[in-house]
Symmetry: C2
DNA sequence: TGTTAGCACTCGCTCTCATAGAGTGCTAAC
DNA sequence: GTTAGCACTCTATGAGAGCGAGTGCTAACA
């Protein structure tokens, strides 16, 4: 059976209408609402064909049709029109980078918020990962009479502070000096590279304040581990409750539960690692609890290398076109910001 | 009508049973389950009295009884037995402070998580507020060739980092030195105190790097504003979905909505400012959207001064005793930690 | 041969009604 | 004062009827 022009128009009408209303679409509705110049009876015949082809289906015998996962797939691959970003969308996106974010985690958090806000779906984002993170700067700062502040910056401007408790703090100058010495020893090294030799040098650097050493080493480790771990940000889980698809509280709860598990999220997002943009519709998802949802992911790069993924989860009845535009826009945002950050730190 | 021993026992049985099962409690249930040595008919008579007194009510004529807000009130004020913290609860609490948290925001975040985890209700917490926050330390650190890291610590060890973009960064030594100079000028001052004179001195301190000044001032302001703003942490909103009270998705949604608005949360928490511990049951809440919920708040102090509030929101059918014990335990935790932090910074 | 009007049919939704069951309140006996 | 017994009330459940939306099929038409 051929998928002629007219069938395509009808399929498109069904999908558009269903995305909008969440109600099965009948032949009369299409005849009235979309001026295709044919009667409802003809539309019925065509719909019967479309159903046979597996592109639409009936929830029950006397209901209208809804798109099948396959129907959505065809729509996404061939029919869908590109969504042009509106003023509001552009403004929100701009505002994310306008905040002049210089720390990765804030950027990711803000991006997630913006995506969920713009799409009304649930946004999930992974922070950029470095297989072996290097220490960019590590410094000591005076804090008060009994503690120092250890500040560690890794590549990507992942910055963490740790308060180091000490008996009696050295003078400000001493603290700064110690920091410089530690920095001289550790700068540019990864966690793996910290061996007996380096620790020996650290001991020298710390001199009479060797007692801090175990604490400092521990904090360095936890910072680098944190930088290496896949950090996931999520925003807009509450949006789920607004969709009629999840008006059954048990369904909503089980989805909530799945989204709470970090493993599930990471699996979802890593699924799309190979492609710039990936759309997984309903049953195409390998994660069991997402069989009724669609997951759209996009990856962002630094240079040629893929660094992380941003994505959304929502009902299969989703505004694919808008989501894809928003995700693409956000990828651009992120890549621009990452480039700025790395340009700044090129020749440290 | 007197509230004799027997009536109290019956009321207690009704409340306990209802907290456990969420089903209206009938006279026969009480007669069978709680060995009060009286027949269901007698219990019925007593229940009739309790209803007249407003302590219990019938959802409909042929149903069992459920406690009224007034009934819960009596229970909370006079009947409830103190809940002794179990092993698991103690362990979770310990683990919060065992992490050796030295930054307020982490402490609050972890506390919120622990509370919602232990109680299965939704935890809300405000960070300690200082009316006029002073700068404890402010330093510059080298970051890379085109940016410096500005680190600001206020009292309470509220620490923030800001990346300051510069054309070409000065040498490490210069950066540290500049930081020390800025620190010398600003340490111990509040935002209000930064006036022309201080800014003049800052200009001197920065010398040829005056171009950073506007940025630095902006970051100082945002850091101090952030430290002064009431920060609210929330955890466990998802728990709400698990209660039969909110199996109606609209109810769940409207509560979610209310919890999303920071104003509502702040109002909820500030309600209890005067008391160490406050229990607001159902209609006792002034916030409209909480009329079906109970809100329990506890305040924590530093020295004699109240600094913040921790609390939970849940259905009126709540395990008041357990929640109160958990909150009290957490207050102790927080106060201990705050004390440690402030002892460390006493003579800066 | 494709299109359309007409019509019978299907099936979910809603309303009504009957029934069962839980729980009460009242009465009378202990 | 307590309790057994019983009539009564009200909800929850399920069956059955009617409605309406929408289909599929047939026959007529261009």
């Amino acid at each position: 059976m051929a998928l002629n022009e007219r069938k395509i128009k009808i399929l498109q009408a069904i999908i558009n209408d269903y995305i909008e209303t969440a109600e099965p679409v009948g032949s009369r509705t299409i005849a009235k609402k979309y001026n295709l110049g044919i009667s409802s009876a003809t539309i019925r015949n065509e719909m019967s064909d479309l159903e046979e082809m597996g592109l639409i289906l009936q929830p029950h015998a006397s209901a209208g049709r809804i798109p099948s996962d396959m129907g959505y797939r065809l729509y996404v691959d061939h029919l869908m029109q590109k969504h042009e970003l509106g003023e509001k969308e552009k403004t929100v996106m701009q505002s994310v980078i306008a905040n002049n974010i210089s720390q990765i985690d804030y950027l990711m958090e803000e991006t997630a918020k913006a995506i969920s806000h713009l799409t009304n779906y649930t946004a999930i984002i992974t922070e950029p990962v470095n297989r072996s993170t290097r220490i960019k700067q590590i410094r000591l700062m005076p804090l008060d009479s009994a503690s120092l502040l250890l500040v560690i910056a890794t590549e990507n401007n992942f910055i963490k502070n740790h308060v180091v408790k000490v008996g009696i703090a050295p003078s400000d100058e001493e603290v700064l000096h110690l920091g410089s010495c530690i920095n001289a020893v550790l700068q540019g090294h990864t966690l793996q590279e910290i061996d007996g030799v380096l620790i020996g040098r650290l001991k020298n650097a710390l001199g009479e304040y060797q007692e801090f050493l175990p604490n400092i080493l521990k904090d360095i480790e936890s910072t680098i581990r944190a930088a290496e771990k896949v950090q996931v940000h999520m925003s807009g889980t509450k949006n789920i409750l607004a969709f009629p698809e999840f008006s059954d509280i048990d369904k909503a709860r089980s989805l909530f539960q799945a989204l709470e598990e970090k493993d599930v999220l990471v699996t979802l997002l890593e699924e799309g690692q190979g492609n710039d943009l990936q759309v997984l519709i309903g049953s195409e998802n390998t994660v069991q609890s997402m069989k009724d949802c669609s997951v759209i992911t996009a990856t962002y790069k630094m240079g040629e290398e893929t660094r992380g993924t941003i994505g959304i989860v929502g009902p299969t009845r989703m505004d694919y076109s808008q989501v894809i535009s928003v995700l693409n826009g956000m990828v651009e945002n992120i890549e621009k910001t990452l480039k700025k950050l790395s340009d700044g730190s090129k020749n440290t």
